[in-house]
Symmetry: C2
Subunit: 216 residues, 2 copies
C-alpha cells in the first residue's frame, strides 16, 4: 500500500494552509515518497477516534506502522526513507531535539495566540490577555532567532526534520505581525517555505478545498 494520511476534506477559509496534514505532505515531497490521502469530514466520531484519540488530524498508515501525531509521523517518513534525518548519532539527536523544541517549546506559544485571538476572540479576557500572549510568544521567537544565528538551518547547512517541524510551527504566524520583529527568523521560515517540496505540498493541500466533492 502507499503510505496514507487522513485529513479534512473541508476546513473554514481561515484554516486553509494551516492544517497539520501539511507536515507529512511536506516530508513526503522532501523524500520523494508518493502517498495517498483519505479525506474525512468528522474527526470527532468513534471511527476516527480509533485512529486518533484526540479527534484530530492527521493520522498515518503504511504497511508496518499506524500512528498519529504530526511530529511522530514526520519522523516515520524520514526514517523510512533514510532522509531528512542525519545518520551521524549526534546530529540525529540534535534533529530530534529540534523536533521536540518545535512541539513543546515553541508551538504552545504560537497556539496560545491563535486560541486567544481567534477561538476565544469573543471571551471577556481575550483583549486584555492579548499583550501578554504576544509578549510570551516573542520571548520564544527571540530565543529561537538567537539560536538560529546566521545559520541557514538550525543545525547548520543540512536541512532536517527538525527544520521541517520548526518552520511548520513558526510558519503558522505568516499572517501575524509577531514575526516581523524577527527578520532572520522570518527569512528562515521563508527559506523553508520556498523549498520545492513545501511549494508542492501546499499546492496539493490547498487543492483539496477546491474539489467540489470534498465537503461530505
Amino acid at each position: 500500500m502507499l503510505p496514507t494520511i487522513t485529513t479534512f476534506g473541508w476546513v473554514p477559509e481561515f484554516a486553509r494552509g494551516f492544517v497539520r496534514d501539511m507536515r507529512p505532505r511536506w516530508a513526503f515531497e522532501e523524500v520523494g515518497q508518493p502517498y495517498a490521502v483519505k479525506l474525512i469530514s468528522d474527526s470527532k466520531g468513534p471511527e476516527h477516534r480509533r485512529l486518533q484519540p484526540f479527534g484530530q488530524v492527521p493520522t498515518y498508515q503504511d504497511d508496518e506502522v499506524a500512528i498519529f501525531e504530526s511530529g511522530a509521523i514526520v519522523l516515520r517518513i524520514a526514517e523510512r526513507a533514510g532522509r531528512l534525518i542525519p545518520v551521524d548519532g549526534a546530529a540525529r539527536m540534535r534533529a530530534l531535539q529540534w523536533v521536540a523544541a518545535a512541539l513543546n517549546s515553541v508551538e504552545p506559544f504560537v497556539m496560545a495566540l491563535a486560541v486567544n485571538d481567534i477561538f476565544e476572540a469573543d471571551r471577556e479576557w481575550s483583549q486584555a490577555r492579548h499583550v501578554k500572549v504576544v509578549d510570551d510568544l516573542k520571548t520564544r521567537l527571540g530565543d529561537l532567532e538567537a539560536a538560529l544565528g546566521d545559520k541557514e538551518w538550525l543545525d547548520g547547512t543540512e536541512f532536517s526534520v527538525g527544520d521541517l517541524m520548526m518552520i511548520s510551527v513558526v510558519g503558522a504566524l505568516r499572517r501575524s505581525a509577531a514575526l516581523a520583529d524577527f527578520p532572520r527568523l522570518a527569512a528562515y521560515v521563508s527559506r523553508g517555505e520556498s523549498r520545492p517540496a513545501h511549494v508542492k505540498a501546499m499546492a496539493d493541500h490547498m487543492a483539496t478545498f477546491d474539489a467540489p466533492t470534498t465537503r461530505t
Copy 2:
C-alpha cells in the same frame, strides 16, 4: 564521562517535584544508567543559553551527544541503553507517537492551567478564564483516558518512554483537582509514579533542595 544533566540547585517550594530534570532522572533509573548532575542557579545567562537557547532545564551531555529538550533527552537515554523503547518497528513508532502526544497534545493544556492559576494568578483575566482552561484540559484528559482504556500502559503491557513522558506530563496535576474526574488515568499515573525507578528519581530530585550548598 558519565552522562550528565544540568538542572536547578534551588527552586521555590511549589516547584519541587515538578522540575523537568525528573524526566531524565527517571529514565536513567529505569535503564540502570549512573549519571551526574550539574546544578546551576542562573538558567537565563549566556553560558547556560549556549546549551539551552530558551534558558530552561534540563540539558544533557554524554561522550557523543549534547542536547536539550526533555523529550529528546529521554529518547537518547532509552536508545543508548536499548531499553524503554521497543525494538519492533511498529511498537517503536507508537512509543514515539506517545512521546509526541505528551509534548504537544497534553502538556500544553496542563501548562495552561499552571500558567493561568499560578503565574497569571494576579492578572485580571485569571479567574474568569480558569473554567475554560480546566474544561479544555479535561477534554484532553478524557480523550487520553479513553485511549488508555483498561490497559496497564498506553501500548499494553510494556512500559515505554511514551508512558514515562505521558506520566511525567499528567503527573504535574498531582496537586490539582482536575485528575479526580479520571480515575483510570489517575491510577495509571500512580502506577508509573510507584515504579522503583520513579521513587528513586524523585528522592534524588528532592534531596537536591535539602543540601545547604545548592543555593549559590
